[in-house]
Amino acid sequence: MAIRVQAEDFDVGAELAALTAGNTAIGGVASFVGLVRDIAPGSQTGGDAVGAMTLEHYPGMTERQLAAIEAEARARWPLDAVLIIHRHGRLLPGDRIVLAACASAHRAAAFEACWFLMDWLKTKAPFWKQEETAEGSRWVAAKDEDDAAAARWSTRTP
């Protein structure tokens, strides 16, 4: 079980190296890194400039939900290692928000499981983003396409 919810940044290379260290049965690692964008949909043509983003979360439930998502991924794919790191607090454009990584003997399981982790995380893990723009702070709205992306995997629920 490798779930971390933290304010601090993380070193992607070091994390991926640690994930596979000592297990030579692993044939590949697929990973996703989410970053803070400097533009969000808004009133300006082409979008509103985002100066910063603050991530709020529900301590306790966040870890519980991420652990459930990891367990579901491990039940669906033959994974040797799984890592989810998600940051909270105030972040600036370009900052890393999240790292999801899956290690497996073969690439298909690693790619699919990593995609699954992110799709389920976006609709189940209790995080909320608040953007700072020239017009003030505003809460980011959930997107229908994120629900649709998560629903693709819903042959079973945890």
Binding site: Y58, M61, Q65, Q130
Partner: protein, 83 residues
């Protein structure tokens, strides 16, 4: 019972958590939201659109027909936007 609020629900209600004694007649999460919405304009505003209020009891997602017990930790929050 401990009730937690997050994101814009927290901002609109004006607090992040509170302890409440479960009133008679409040048996489910749906009952609880209806009762909370009657407690003042800040609650009514925050809870006006039930479709965008998610509910967790003891840190698991539940529906509006979930039964409540005195020692539960209930959280109300908008649809999540992490990742």
């Amino acid at each position: 019972m401990r009730i937690l609020y997050f994101a814009w629900l927290r901002a609109k209600i004006g607090m992040s958590e509170e302890e409440v004694a479960l009133p008679a007649g409040v048996a489910t999460t749906g009952d609880l939201i209806t009762w909370l919405a009657s407690r003042g304009p800040n609650y009514a505003d925050a809870l006006a659109n039930r479709a965008v209020v998610k509910v967790a009891v003891n840190q698991d997602y539940v529906g509006l027909d979930h039964p409540l017990a005195a020692g539960d930790e209930v959280a109300l929050f908008p649809p999540v936007t992490g990742g």
